[in-house]
């Protein structure tokens, strides 16, 4: 019975996708089903979160095959909170897309693809089986290929080709790593792997496999030096598509890294996690420096995704309770803030006609509300108190100071400052500076139709409110992150939940 809580967050978007395909010819009905499906997904995610919050780690064996032989679905606090945040983003961006994605793209199958993407993301968070994780990655990947190319504009095809090529290499790397790991341990169940990996005698080979996973997931999560596909593609598709990509896709890679490097590959921490720490620092720096050179809002934000990924990897690499609390907190905060910034960029384009900072301006004068809505996530991203980003950075830097990693702490602070520089640039160019074509070229939010105001501005307001709420009532979110971190650092609970209590 309990396993329904685990299956529902995967089954709901899958069903919605099928319904959307069946309703392909009836556009209005399809839109309603799509929005309702996103809502139901959020409800399912909330139920799962409530169940895990009360009852601890939840595990279900699909088809009643006992672990480690069948496919296991597991939700600990990290999985549950990631599914919940996917549900929130899925609904918000889903509503936004109703006014953002044009009819041509809807006819080409935007809604089914969107829900397949959500299925893949949710599945990746819940599965407890490494090969199953590969399958969910592929589900997510094929949907993201199609969403990226949807509309077939020249720029999109250019971006999609690069995105596809590099991500395909990553999946093959992942598959080879899974194969070698299977050859060495004879199992693919993650909990079972956690038990068996320490017993393997060839330690050097095991570290090699760990590094293969690191590279495969590193490409997915866009860490230095494997991030080049991201700024090449994320600014090309429809705004709703790039917003959901920015929020969720790279974070699935980060989640996979956190999962495997706290549960399975924890023996050679001196090598793997130190390597991750170096990668984290370089990711933060290159991302933020790349952003400084850009002049298009979405390209600036894309580079900032990379630099923010660095912070999450840093939390994992520190591998202390506080570090992991910071990583989990950062994941949640970042998904909300980054998605929101992309949504704001979409509205800014609608009001001024472009996303190129040189061609726009005057938004502060014409629509002060949008200025405030931009400022909240932007300042949060840079880590200004009392917004959510401040606490996330504070916890991480505190964690690095505790174990005397001075360099990474310094890099984290420096990157925060440079983030502020980029956000100031967007602020000055898009909001303060007058529009180069004259003042009346910038519309105000009042010029949008009522439905546009509700569906475009509504999600932005809610996400901004969430950012402020996490900043002001930090304790419950910190409690959640603390629980998740405790589970990650002590995998015995996870293993027991999956394999049953062992002698």
């Amino acid at each position: 019975m309990l396993s329904w809580y685990l299956v529902a967050p995967i089954a709901v978007p899958m069903t919605t996708a099928v319904l959307c395909i069946l309703l392909a010819t009836r556009r209005d009905l399809q839109r309603i089903v799509s929005a309702a499906g996103a809502g139901a997904h959020l409800v399912a995610a909330l139920l799962l979160m409530a169940q895990v919050w009360q009852g601890g780690i939840l595990a279900g064996q699909m088809g009643q095959w006992p672990a480690p032989f069948g496919i296991t679905l597991v939700a600990d606090h990290l999985s549950a909170v990631m599914v919940l945040i996917t549900g929130i983003m899925g609904l918000g961006v889903g509503l936004y897309s109703l006014r953002d994605v044009d009819e041509n793209r809807e006819r080409s199958g935007f809604h089914p693809l969107y829900h397949v993407l959500l299925t893949g993301v949710t599945g990746s968070f819940i599965t407890g089986d490494l090969f199953n994780l590969y399958v969910w990655f592929e589900v997510m990947l094929i949907a993201s290929f199609a969403l990226l190319a949807l509309g077939s504009e020249k720029v999109q095809l250019d971006g999609a080709i690069k995105y596809a090529a590099i991500n395909l290499v990553s999946t093959v790397m992942f598959l080879i790593a899974v194969a070698v790991l299977y050859g060495m341990t004879g199992t693919l169940n993650m909990a079972d792997l956690a038990v068996r990996v320490p017993q393997v005698e060839q330690r050097g080979m095991m570290t090699t496999v760990a590094v293969m996973f690191m590279i495969a997931f590193g490409i997915k999560s866009a860490v230095f030096p494997l991030f080049f596909w991201l700024p090449a593609s994320y600014h090309t598709p429809a705004v709703a598509v790039s917003a959901i990509f920015a929020g969720l896709l790279t974070k699935v890679g980060v989640y996979a890294l956190v999962r495997t490097f706290t549960l399975i590959f924890t023996d050679d921490v001196g090598y793997t996690h130190d390597a991750l720490l170096v990668v984290a620092g370089l990711t933060m720096l290159t991302g933020v420096l790349g952003a400084a050179a850009q002049n298009e809002i979405r390209r600036i934000l894309s580079f900032h995704i990379i630099s923010q990924i660095g912070y999450m990897i840093m939390g994992l690499a520190l591998y202390t309770p506080l570090g992991l609390i910071g990583a989990v907190f950062y994941l949640v905060h970042h998904i909300i803030v980054k998605t929101n910034l992309f949504l704001v960029a979409g509205v800014a384009k609608r009001l001024t006609g472009s996303m190129d900072l040189k061609k726009i301006g005057g938004l502060y004068k014409s629509s002060p509300l949008l200025a405030v809505l931009f400022l909240i996530p932007a300042l949060s991203l840079a880590g200004i108190p009392p917004l959510s980003g401040f606490w996330a950075k504070f916890v991480l830097i505190r964690a690095s100071l505790e174990i005397e990693s001075w360099v990474i702490a310094a890099v984290a602070i420096l990157v925060g400052l440079l983030t502020m520089f980029s956000m100031t640039k967007i602020w000055v160019e898009a909001f303060w500076k007058p529009h180069p074509d004259g003042d009346d070229r910038s519309l105000s939010i009042g010029d949008l139709t009522v439905s546009e105001r509700v569906l475009l501005i509504g999600p932005i307001v809610v996400f901004a409110a969430l950012t402020v709420a996490i900043g002001l009532w930090t304790q419950p979110f910190l409690d959640l992150a603390t629980r998740a971190s405790a589970e990650l650092l002590n995998p015995a609970g996870y293993i027991d939940a999956v394999l049953g209590a062992r002698p």
Binding site: V135, I142, F145, S152, I161, I176, Y182
Partner: protein, 148 residues
């Protein structure tokens, strides 16, 4: 047997890396196909290889007995083949659409999403459907320098 497969995988991987490093996206695609097949062989070899011992339960028995080959890697390979077939079919169409729209399969010339200079426009081919690869790239080159 494992040694033979290991060397085969090595040769396939080397070939695919050579192809993947090409500018020509069609070669890159072939590289990806080769690489994903190499991965399938890795699964096959990693699962342990036994010759001529199919995992079949004999008549009148309830379970497998004695030495038999591991059926799980084959199930994994089958899944991986299906998935990579789908992905590569999509990638092929994507490259073809890219060729139709952009007039080239040379990845170095695809600079629309990331223009080398902020104000530079990439010239468009007139009849992309009828161009050969080499013609297309040459045409882009010619249009790029107005003096010639």
């Amino acid at each position: 047997m494992e040694t033979l497969v290991a060397f085969t995988v090595g040769v396939m991987a080397a070939g695919s890396v050579y192809l993947l490093l090409s500018h020509n996206l069609v070669r890159v695609l072939f590289g990806l196909i080769l690489l994903s097949n190499a991965a399938n062989f890795v699964i096959f070899a990693a699962g342990g290889m036994t010759e001529g011992l199919p995992p079949l339960i004999g008549l009148g028995e309830k379970a497998l007995t004695g030495v038999y080959s591991n059926p799980l890697p084959q199930a994994l390979i089958l899944t991986a083949i299906v998935i990579s077939f789908g992905l590569l079919a999509f990638a092929l169409v994507l490259v073809y659409r890219g060729y139709q729209e952009l007039g080239t399969v040379d990845s170095d010339r695809m600079r629309l999403a990331e223009p080398p200079h902020p104000d530079q426009d990439i010239p468009e081919p007139e009849e992309p459907g009828r161009l050969h690869v080499r013609d297309a790239s040459r045409r882009v080159e010619n249009l790029g320098s107005p003096q010639s």
